[in-house]
Each structure stands twice: as C-alpha cells, then as structure tokens.
Amino acid sequence: MNEKSARILAAVFLLGGLAALGISWRLGQADAVILHARMPEAGGWTPADLTVAAGQPLRLRLTSDDVMHGFAIGQSDQPAVDVEPGKVTNLTVIFDKPGTYTFYCTRWCGPNHWRMRGAIIVTGERVEQPVTPPLYAQLGLDIDARREAQTIPAGKPSTQRSAEIFAQFLLPSAQSYLSPGYYRSRSPEQVWQDLRDDPHWVHYSDLQLWDAVAYIWQANTTPEALAEARSLYARNCAACHGESGGGDGVFIGGQVQVQGEAHGFPPGYETVLPTDFTDPRHLLAVSPAHLQGKIIRGGMGTGMPMWGVIFTEEQTWALVSYLYTFQFEEVP
C-alpha cells in the first residue's frame, strides 16, 4: 500500500514538473517571433515581413544562420543590435504609429548586404496625414540627368578666408540668399552665378564669391548635423564612395555589373562607379535637393541603394550638407 502511494506520488510530481516546465516555456515564448538572418544571397531575413498592432510589443528573437549581422529599424531611434550565429538576441520594440517600417542589416555581411531588408507592418487606426513630397519631387528635378559645372573655383572655397565679404550677408538685400529654400534648390554653381549677376556683389573676385557660396552652405547647416552625418557616411556610404569621398571605397573593385547601355562590356551591361564627391565639376553642379533625391531614391540601376526608408529627413539633409565638405573648407 505504502509503495503504491509512493509510486503515484512520484508520478504526479514528475508529470507536474514536466507540465510546469512546458507551461513556463510556452509563456516565455509567447508571441516571440524568431527572426533568422542570412546573407542576402541565401535568403536574407526570414520571415521578411512582420505584422504587429500599434502599441503592442513586438518580441523578437534574433539569430543568424551564417555570419554576423545587425538589426536596426529605419527612421527610428532604436539602437542597432548585433545578430550573431549561435546566439539569440532578444529585442522588444513597440510602435506607436501605424504604418510600414523597414528593418535592415547594419553589418557588412556580404556584397549584397544593403539588400538585406524587411518590413514591419504596424496595423491600427491610421490617422490620415497630408504627405509632403520631398523637395526634389516638388521641384520636378531630373536627378538622373548628368550635370557638369562650367564654372569651378580656383581653390577650395572657405568660410575662413575673408570676414569682410560675409558682412555683406547682414544687408537686407542679401538675406534671401541665406534662406533654406534658396540654398536647397540651387546648385553651388547657380548660387555663384546669382551672386556674380547681383550688382551688390560686383566688386568681389570670383574666389571671394565662392567663399560666399561656402558661407551660405555653412549658414544652412550646424556642426552637430555635420558630426552626425559624418558617422552616417562612415557607416553607410564610405564602403563605396570612399572615406575621403573620392569614389574609391574598398568595394570599387567588386562593383556589380548592372543593366544599361555600355561600352567595354557585353551588350546590356555597364559598370557604374560610385560618384566622386571630390570632383568639383560634379558636386558644384548639383543642388542639395538633387542630392537629397539621390539619397532618398537611390541610383536606380546602379549599386546605390535607396535610403528613403532608412534615414529621417533631418539625417538626409545632414548628409547632403556633409557631402559639400568635400568641396568647401570645413567648419573649424
């Protein structure tokens, strides 16, 4: 009798323990999404689409099936986390606003690293907000047109050279040159030409006018924005465009041949090299709005990714102003 009850007791304890383990495991796993990261050539993110309701926590268990990856969400302050093979990174995110968000890989995991993206669809009551198209679209710029500056400065324009010319900007007649609307919609070359044609500026030399152009640029950015853009550039752009902006990044040898008109390649292929930002003929011919368009939309058929879903508007403008540091003397 005693032995029988002991057996029953042991069985109850054993089953109870197993059930408790199972239930706690279920609870711990509840609604956690296991997100596998693979190199884009091997499939990228699995699953690539996630859905969550606004205000609800999205629990992610991130792991990698091959190499080191990173996880970040575009246009959010969520810091990037590393996703390593053999490890699980737990991450919980909450979205307040409904909409579609992009998550992307933050570690260079392969030649197609930048294609490693996925979408998070946040459902909920959508408040219709008027959407303002980006400036380049408002202006109707053809951002694929090749532009080349006809007039370039003899030396690097600097805001440090002559203080005298910048006193001009205190005059009411010059105020409009400093407005963001003016600065963003005109290329440095156009600004220079406007100043050249302005009777108030007739006494100044060509280089002094270029200094004034640099001043207008500097007035429309801040050291903080440039510092943020410097790190964004290093993380996202420098691999192709080069640390010094020369279009000579480490990936230049591995440029993927892309569809297009061509010479020197089989019909239908050409190699589009990254833009050289140190070439004044190129960079001084394009307006901030043009560069904004390139960053937002990407290169369309070149290796340049689209960043519109990843960078915020402020980050994009900061990057645009940072690009001009390859032409203008930097703010000390």
């Binding site: 570690r107 260079w108 752009c237 691999a239 480490v250």
Partner: protein, 153 residues
C-alpha cells in the same frame, strides 16, 4: 653506472639551461612606432605576418575590404572590428615577446575559422627552446638507453 648518473646530471643541467636561461637575444629597442595597415578580405589578412621588436608601440589599422572582419591578438587579448569603409585602429605596446596568432573575431563566412595571421614579437624563443629540448631528449635517448638491450629486427 656512474656514467649514467653523470649523463643524467649533464643532460638535466642542459635541459634546465635551455628551458629557463634568460637569453637576451632581443635587440634593445624601446618605443619604436610600428604602424601596419592590414587589409582583411577573402578570409585572409594582408600582410598576414607582422614583425615587431619587444617594447615597440604597435598600431594596426585594420581595413575590411569585403565584409565585416575582426582582429583578435592571442596572448594580448585585444580585439577590434572593422567594416568596409570604417577602418579600425588597434594600438598597444608589444611587451610580451613571442609569436602570437591573429584571428578574425567576427564570424565572417564559411572560411572564417581559417582567417589567421601572426604577430611576431622578437625572436620566437619558445620555438628555439622547444627545438633545443627536443634535441637534448634525442641525445638522451642515444646516451641513456639501457645497454645490452637486444635490437630486434
């Protein structure tokens, strides 16, 4: 019998000398700046072998040319991670003589375990001591083997 004791004593003394003698073969240098630019790509470091003298200030600029790579220095327990476009710099004083393995610290692909290099700080004394001891052991076999043991063919 006496011969064996003397042989043991001589060989033992030689072994101790080889193993522990403070050989001072290292050129006396101090605080020389050694700057290396190491390119990491295709599961290899280039250059893969770095020579420095003990006491040198070593600066390694790690440039990743394809995917994210790392550099871990065995023995010094230092590591750094570089991404394409973002070179990383590792600076340290080579105060431990010897030869140390460099290895990639980031899982970078299928051949990641084979991505290695070497940091040589001065002469590889450990290696030479090892060779010396091995030779002594061989000598010991020759001199100390029991006489009269039949050699079976």
């Amino acid at each position: 019998m006496k011969r064996i004791v003397v042989s043991w004593a001589v060989l033992g003394a030689a072994a101790l000398l080889v193993a522990f003698a403070p050989f001072n073969l290292q050129p006396v240098t101090s605080n020389v700046e050694r700057i290396f630019r190491v390119e990491a790509g295709d599961f290899a470091y280039s250059p893969a072998v770095l020579h420095v003298n003990p006491g040198d200030n070593v600066t390694i600029k790690l440039v990743a040319t394809d995917v994210v790579h790392g550099l871990y220095v065995d023995g010094y327990d230092l590591s750094v991670i570089a991404e394409p476009g973002q070179p990383a710099v590792l600076s340290f004083t080579a105060d431990r003589p010897g030869t140390f393995r460099l290895r990639c610290s980031v899982t970078c692909g299928a051949l990641h375990p084979f991505m290695t290099g070497k940091l040589k700080v001065g002469t590889n004394l450990l290696l030479w001591r090892g060779i010396g001891l091995a030779l002594l052991a061989f000598l010991g076999i020759l001199t100390l083997r029991s006489p009269g043991l039949p050699i079976v063919h």
